[in-house]
Symmetry: C2
Subunit: 326 residues, 2 copies
Amino acid sequence: MPTIIDVAKTAGVSKSTVSRVLTDNGYVSKESRKKVLSAMEEIGYIPNILARQFQSGVTKTIGFIAPSYMNTMGKFLQVFMETAKKYGYFVNLYLTSEDKQKEIEALNQMKFKQIDGIFILTRTNEWEVIKKFSQYGPISTWNRIEEDWIYSSYFDHYEGYLKALNYLYNQGYRQFGHVLGNSQNLNTKARLKALHEFHQNKGLKLDDEWLIQESSLYDDGKLIGEKWIDSKSKPDVLAFYSDYIAAQFISRIEEKGFKSPENIGVLGFDNSEISELMHLTTVDYSIEKQAYNSFIYLYNQLNEENIAEKKLTTKIIKRKTIVNRT
Amino acid sequence: MPTIIDVAKTAGVSKSTVSRVLTDNGYVSKESRKKVLSAMEEIGYIPNILARQFQSGVTKTIGFIAPSYMNTMGKFLQVFMETAKKYGYFVNLYLTSEDKQKEIEALNQMKFKQIDGIFILTRTNEWEVIKKFSQYGPISTWNRIEEDWIYSSYFDHYEGYLKALNYLYNQGYRQFGHVLGNSQNLNTKARLKALHEFHQNKGLKLDDEWLIQESSLYDDGKLIGEKWIDSKSKPDVLAFYSDYIAAQFISRIEEKGFKSPENIGVLGFDNSEISELMHLTTVDYSIEKQAYNSFIYLYNQLNEENIAEKKLTTKIIKRKTIVNRT
DNA sequence: CTGTTAGCGCCTTCAG
DNA sequence: CTGAAGGCGCTAACAG
């Protein structure tokens, strides 16, 4: 592997000059530049990235932390990585299996200068713990959180959920069930606010049995399916905070001979691949743009630039698990 | 950030001694070691990975190339990454969108010493093109290929498929349809051999219309669904080479009011998450072990070790899309 | 067993 | 505008 010294020799200049043309930094005469360029060409010079990283203390890679391979994650990751590549960054994936220690290890990579910034799809440790790492570089997340040490490209779940519930109402549904995630999560809080307002405004009673919180992405959809089968007060529609859980729910009740929309309306959330396959009516809230924004934030921080973010929008994707009952 | 020099000073030894305890290389007296260790503790020393990488010319990271974030990929990636981490390696994901140029760029990372080895889930370029990069480091893949410059942790699709077909036969199915992938792929060839033998042995006619090849992971399942709906000579069972395509197929025929297993038996392949959600009968062929083996091969190559691989096994996962018709 | 020394490849002052 | 020189943090001979 030729180095700048080799280039310098064959170009008949000093290595500093070569370095200058490489970094486009400082003055280089046209002739020198030309000589250097053709010398590089001639001997097939390729800059040693390792040396550069070492020298600059920067890796041009971003860590992407997620608890596990999730269905929802596909589109997000793809866009995030494409954007990163476009701006000259690599992406390191860390799958934590919801193991706090593993998440810490990933976070530590930034401390060790192994990555320049971090994106967290879904955290495992408390924010308080994560916060400590923000001194080593920028962090962004998908969860909604309003603190200044972290960026959140969040979608307004209050408005989005309200819109979805109104849609269900207009389709003739009256007995609502809600499946929400982690109650600490600001998205969950926003949804909670939306649904309380909604029930109040429409004069609809809220059945506590069917206000389900803290469901995780593992197999809670199945458990909820069982709960629904056994329940005496079945809601006529269930609004989930994630397609994946909704899919598990349907999958489970189908095993027992029930069906959506015949026996219960189901509304997913995410417009993920699985929702298409299983004909789930769902809510699209421009995941792609969130992924873009999440990277752009990190990029802006890292490079002191100010590239604009994209504005998010919502749309209800009508498929088969919600019907008009009026 | 303290360096080994700082450690050396506070421990009252030379930096080489510090380096020795760090790398566990060469002799260090117990006392020196203890002094160094406590000095590191005291000043909060963390090795600079960038410097190490630069110095050794090695990044301890493996590139993982895939066309996109596929459903099937989840389990594989998870195990691959866990194994990698266990052995002190990072994983860099490259999503190529089936763009040859992007794949080349990823391959190039090894030339530029950005990664030490490469795993290819599904290639986009021809093997001939990829082969050139094997001079820069080890490459392994999931596809079956028998050449010495690349390792393939392949599952024996000949036996696996034969086993699956026999199972279907025993359940009473007689008119078979087969959906296979890329015909260049050795896995496809193995399956082709298996199915020909199977049809011959059982005296079953093979309907050319239902020997489908070259189907890609995008949305061919849907197209096949339409084909099936329109066809006059419908097979009574369709064996797919991937759960995902099978899922798309079922999804599409359901839209038109058909169902599996009532109207057609469906056999998936992979035992992926989606197959569980959609109650697909499928074939499990220990993806986890393949992921493990794929990494281990690279590790062995890179470190001149000889860790044993795991043996692969097959199992038919009985769910709902195949029934006993006898 | 330990210290000295010489790089790894690149970038960045600092003189000229 | 250009060359010389120093340094980033660490490892690996090489003497002692």
